[in-house]
Amino acid sequence: MSEVIEPRVSSNAPESLNIITQTGQGARPMTGNEAIARGVWEAGCRVAAAYPGTPSTEILENLAKYPSQDLHAQWSTNEKIALDVAYGASYGGVRAFCAMKHVGLNVAADALLTQAYIGVNGGMVLAVCDDPGIHSSQNEQDTRLFGKLANVPVLEPSDAQEALDYTRWAYELSEQFDTPIIVRSTTRIAHTRSPVVVGERQEFESQGFVERPENIALPTTARRRHPVVIERESLMETYFSESAKTQWIKGDTSVGIITAGMSYSYVREVLQGFSILKLPASFPLARDSVREFCDSVERVIVVEELEPFLETEIAAMGYKVEGKVFFPRAGELSPELVHEGFAKAGLLESRKIKSMLNFDELVRPPVLCSGCPHTGGYMALRALDARVAGDIGCYTLAAMQPLQAMDTCVSMGSSIGTAVGLAKAGNETRPIVATIGDSTFLHGGIPGLIDAVYNQANITVLLLNNSTTAMTGGQDHPGTGRTLRGDETHQVNYAEVCRAVGVKSLKEVDSYDLGVLYQAIREATEYKGVSVVIANRPCVLDPVKIKGPAFQIRAEGCTACQSCMNLGCPALSWSDEMLDGHHKIKIDETSCIGCTLCVQICPSDCIRPALELNPS
């Protein structure tokens, strides 16, 4: 534990960002994700794998910018495979890395919990990015609890510099303590840019595969390893207590604040003068440091995002500790919330913000892009009045207005299984359709499809193939025929996959062909058994931004029926012209990509190519 009294001094600005591997020349602005990637590279990691997931995606994307002779970086079909791949490299004696978002760890958990027993050969680090506030996820689970469950240490950087430093450090810890290490990031760290001083890459001589009994997880080895894991936990508690990264900011001893990660920044932002204990790792807890700190102050307050993880642990040590009584357990912390928490604790004046500057808030939810090929499928499902089991991806937005064509959404790949269950429940009168994107299908949909065929479920699967992982920004996957580094590779043929697992009713259609799409889905739903409709069209943003000739509305032909508004296309909005009490529609030519979906829906033939209406 080190003592810090002075605030850190800013570094000088870098002159160039061009050479990513360059070192020195002071600090450069980096997001947390860039910094983790840099840390992985500097640590001499040779294999990195991930499945994209906000807010973790950019870590692997940034790793792919480093020379391929330095490390192999790959997208894997899902987080478990990514972890297995990384772990295989670790078995092989090289430093390995795996990144995922918090819910991705659920997928990888099966491997992780056993890997903790096996230990590592090459250093093994997982970066897991939580999403407090649920900016782009389906829950806000707290990965620190996972660390404890898995007996895997969890490091918590509080800014980009620490993200780099802790990542490098994690490799040392991993090899020293023979365990995988989780570096837990959050959205705010992942997507915040701040200056980072970088270092150089270390290179290691690999010792190669080491044959040891614990490499094979068997009851006998596991039984032997569990006590070792428990012992490791206490060794690391001591280690962290002694680490210079556990920082005690000396101050007024009437109150002591214990915090870690992003919360530390908020505390420093709003509160000055009190004692602060900053923990670099939430698990295992640096018990000695905590004990010493708590003993030195009159009152202990824990500031942490999400679950009362540290609070519970410290309370269990016998200290009276306050935390969630002041700070919310749900949602993302912010300087305001931390301030208000301290106000509740009596440390600060409550800040009443003058609310004179309050204006009607415009609702601007994320929407499917103009020309999004998913729109057609959900328009068809909407018309079919199907019971739709959704999945994770951009298309989850179809659950919202105006499409409102999705009934369930649980987790990656859940749609098909959910649909099977709905069908087996036997009381659904509407056709049951599972909708799943191409990347999600590869991630976790295929076992579900096999299950559906195996169990002869009467469902339809609509595979929305936009040839990218769109939600996270357009990453490649086995269906795109390109690797993370852009090299060509085998491209999965979905139809063949479906046939191979026993799907008899299969049709491939064009996502922009509304009539055909509708008919294909309708016929598929009438098929007894598992039917698959594959709707193909590339995402309009990635990998290539698609912009066809725009359309325009002939106002005199528009009957204001608003049929087109059901697409939820951002290029469509009301014009000021009204007919019979309804607004006519106009098209924003700059955002219209010319997909023709609105043209296909319009019952008045008033949507024409802009060029035709304005030839100039």
Binding site: S10, P195, N358, P366, C369, M565, H582
Partner: protein, 304 residues
């Protein structure tokens, strides 16, 4: 013991996905870093390119801890879109904050969702004059319009950057030095012009433009339109066209396979069902009724 709030400079840059919020943020972050200050810049994207609201917090000063700006603490709110600018006004320092916003309106489809007769836009109704009345330090150029005049709509953000440069302490030459690092070489010249145009705009006197940004107000509806669907059961042949084509999904076939109005509250009286019924089994009647006589806006069904 009194704790005090430290005060770095806080700039909040907001807009809609694709407008260039991040580029403006990066320029400002770089600039302040070059001035030897500590900088944190936090953004939320992910959903951004799906037409959602995009925001970027930039904080710089001798010491910066939190990446986000507390509410009421922004020195500058820079909006690349009018309603987005208004959305984040809560974050502006009430007394001394500067509000800079393009008057461009990007109306989301969501604010056009009300299907009833005489429905109003959900878009922000405040005019520039409304805002100036509350925030004296308001700069509301028609940056997009100016950008179009310069030949590239996408340089609207650089025009606003020019406006921003007049309220910040950094030397102009430093701004001009950073700009080329972030804009494509082929548009550099236009961007430089745009930056200067933004600066020049602040030198000119401006009356708040009252015509801007307000959606044309509709006269208050004294009358509501009452919709009724007349369904001739005997004529319906169960072809399902109306059911599938109804934009609001109001219709269904009943047990006898005869069309039925199942969601009367959703029916807007658009007549698509009437037009497409090959059997003339549906007639849509729309009648003006004094507003006070209608408690719930719902269509009625008459079966004959």
């Amino acid at each position: 013991m009194n704790a005090t709030v430290t005060g770095p400079t806080n700039v909040l840059i907001v807009g809609v996905g694709g407008q260039g919020v991040i580029m403006v943020s990066k320029i400002l972050a770089r600039l302040s870093q070059q001035q030897g200050l500590q900088v944190k810049q936090s953004e939320v994207h992910g959903m951004a390119k799906r037409g959602g609201s995009v925001f970027s917090h930039i904080r710089f000063g001798e010491e910066v801890w939190s990446p986000t700006i507390p509410m009421g603490e922004a020195d500058v709110v820079l909006g690349l879109e009018w309603a987005e600018g208004l959305r984040w006004l809560r974050y502006l320092k009430p007394d001394s904050g500067t509000f800079i916003s393009d008057t461009k309106r990007i109306v989301p489809p969501f604010s056009c969702r009300d299907r009833q007769h005489d429905a109003k836009h959900g878009y922000a109704h405040h005019t520039v004059a409304d805002i100036v009345a509350q925030v004296p330090n308001t700069f509301a150029p028609d940056a997009t319009g100016m950008a179009i005049e310069l030949g590239n709509e996408r340089v609207a953000n650089t025009i606003l950057l020019g406006v921003l440069s007049t309220v910040m302490d950094f030397p102009v030459k430093d701004w001009l030095k950073v700009l080329p690092e972030f804009v494509p070489a082929k548009t550099l010249e236009t961007n430089l012009k745009a930056f200067k145009a933004g600066r020049a705009w602040t030198k000119k006197p401006h009356e708040p433009d009252l015509r801007q940004t307000t959606v044309q107000a509709q006269a208050g509806p004294l009358m509501r339109r009452q919709v009724s669907l007349e369904i001739t059961e005997e004529w319906c042949k169960s072809c399902d066209i109306c059911v599938k084509m109804c934009p609001e999904r109001c219709l269904a076939l009943d047990q006898r396979q005869i069309v039925k109005l199942v969601k009367p509250q959703a029916c807007t009286g658009c007549r698509v069902c009437e037009w497409l019924c090959p059997d003339f089994a549906i007639a849509v009647h729309v009648e003006a009724v004094p507003a006070e006589n209608i408690s719930v806006v719902t269509a009625t069904e008459v079966r004959v």
